[in-house]
Amino acid sequence: MKNKYSIFSLIKNAFSYHENWQKAWKDPVIKKEYDAIIVGGGGHGLATAYYLAKKHNMKNIAVVEKGWIGGGNTGRNTTIIRSNYLWDASAGLYDHALKLWEGLSQEINYNVMFSQRGVMNLAHNLQDIRDLKRRTHANRLNGIDAVYLSTEEVKKFCPIINTSPDIRYPVLGGTLQRRAGTARHDAVAWGYARGADEMGVDIIQNCEVKGIKRNGDEVEGIETTRGFIKTKKIGVVAAGHSSVLANMAGLRLPLESKPLQALVSEPVKPVIDTVVMSNAVHAYVSQSDKGELVIGAGTDDYISYSQKGSHDIVEGTLNAILELYPIFSRMRMLRQWGGIVDICPDASPIISKTTIKGLYFNCGWGTGGFKATPGSGDLFAHTIANDAPHKLNAAFNLNRFISGDLVDEHGAAAVAH
């Protein structure tokens, strides 16, 4: 039984210099067989395991992770959470996640520092205005909060934005989703891991999957760097490496893996209390609780697994940031990094069964998977447990690339992918 985290446990542990905190998750001995194995110990994978154990009573399960949990894209994203997507299927999926975010800290007894500080999307030309207004109406019809802001309202909501009509891409308006915001990404992985571990899930780190064993059209287990593990159900949540794992099972996916970069500045006093995104100039910025500006750039256009992107992408993003926020002109950037994102042709994810029995894929989240973490885990757990999708992820199947029934969020999703 895990000790509950509270103000009292914090005080109690302060007396022993915080040296006697209970371990948040164990380092388990690998069993010979599990009822299900989740490949990938990021936020989505750990959430999947958590909901499998909690809602579907599957306790004899494991999460295998090649590095350490939360060490991939979960710890590399810019932590933005929103659900203002255009299409009904996407709205259902992302707003389901947002609703779970709203109660997550209480549910898993772990402070994920979910902060509903609002996300603003800027319009820089007439087409942007039309698109954003259309999306605002679509959002409202789907029960998602969204308002359209004039230039003056944008300036009022975020005073440091340069709204001069003379800049290269003037701010002509914007949208605001007040329920959107940010969360602490590491805490999400750790919180779900702790919760899953408590229900008996084995979290196996430093265990890379080297092969997926099949018996005809069924899965039999996985070959790993720590030996063979038998199972009848495998849920792959491997982000940028999804195609590599699909290849092991002899499956092809419609994905391309590309570097996506982000950077943080030196910490400063609070200067921006919301998240501002711009589709046209592809730059977005928020401020972390430590005071660093968190800046997201775009993807490179070539396939790469090298976890480093091109300098010109960063340069372009910073040019845009400086034009929109001249106040940042003398700030220094502290760190810059890249993550590998798996992008679908329609910029929507895949949470789906495959043609192989017992093999499930949750991938294709592209540049915006973090926001969906709780919803993705919940729906993927449902899909694995019932061998059938939930109605909220039915549209996000692999078959859509054959039927043509795509969920085309390219450009429509409030930010270019």
Binding site: S257, S304, K308
Partner: protein, 91 residues
């Protein structure tokens, strides 16, 4: 960030080029006769290799010509460059 040797212009920065994705995907000769599965395979399914990849690039800010590159996608090291229509090298 890496350098690419355009077969027509020589060594240039990668930012001068536009990536064209996986090479040697042949357009079906009779698209109307394909099943939906086969069409999806041609249109959407990709190898997305981690390792040696044969790919197309366009020198969009230079001579604007297309050519092929063999690159290791795990570290962005370029192994070979060859023109369109040439036989792919064995790597």
């Amino acid at each position: 960030m890496f350098l690419i040797t355009c077969p027509f212009c020589g060594e240039r920065e990668q930012s001068e080029f536009k990536a064209g994705g996986e090479a040697h995907i042949e357009r079906p000769k009779q698209p109307t006769e394909l099943s939906d599965d086969e069409w999806a395979e041609y249109l959407f399914m990709r190898k997305n290799i981690k390792g040696i990849q044969f790919e197309r690039w366009n020198h969009s800010h230079g001579c604007r010509k297309w050519f092929n590159v063999v690159r290791d996608t795990s570290n962005d090291e370029i192994k070979s460059v060859y023109k369109m229509g040439e036989k792919p090298p064995t790597i």
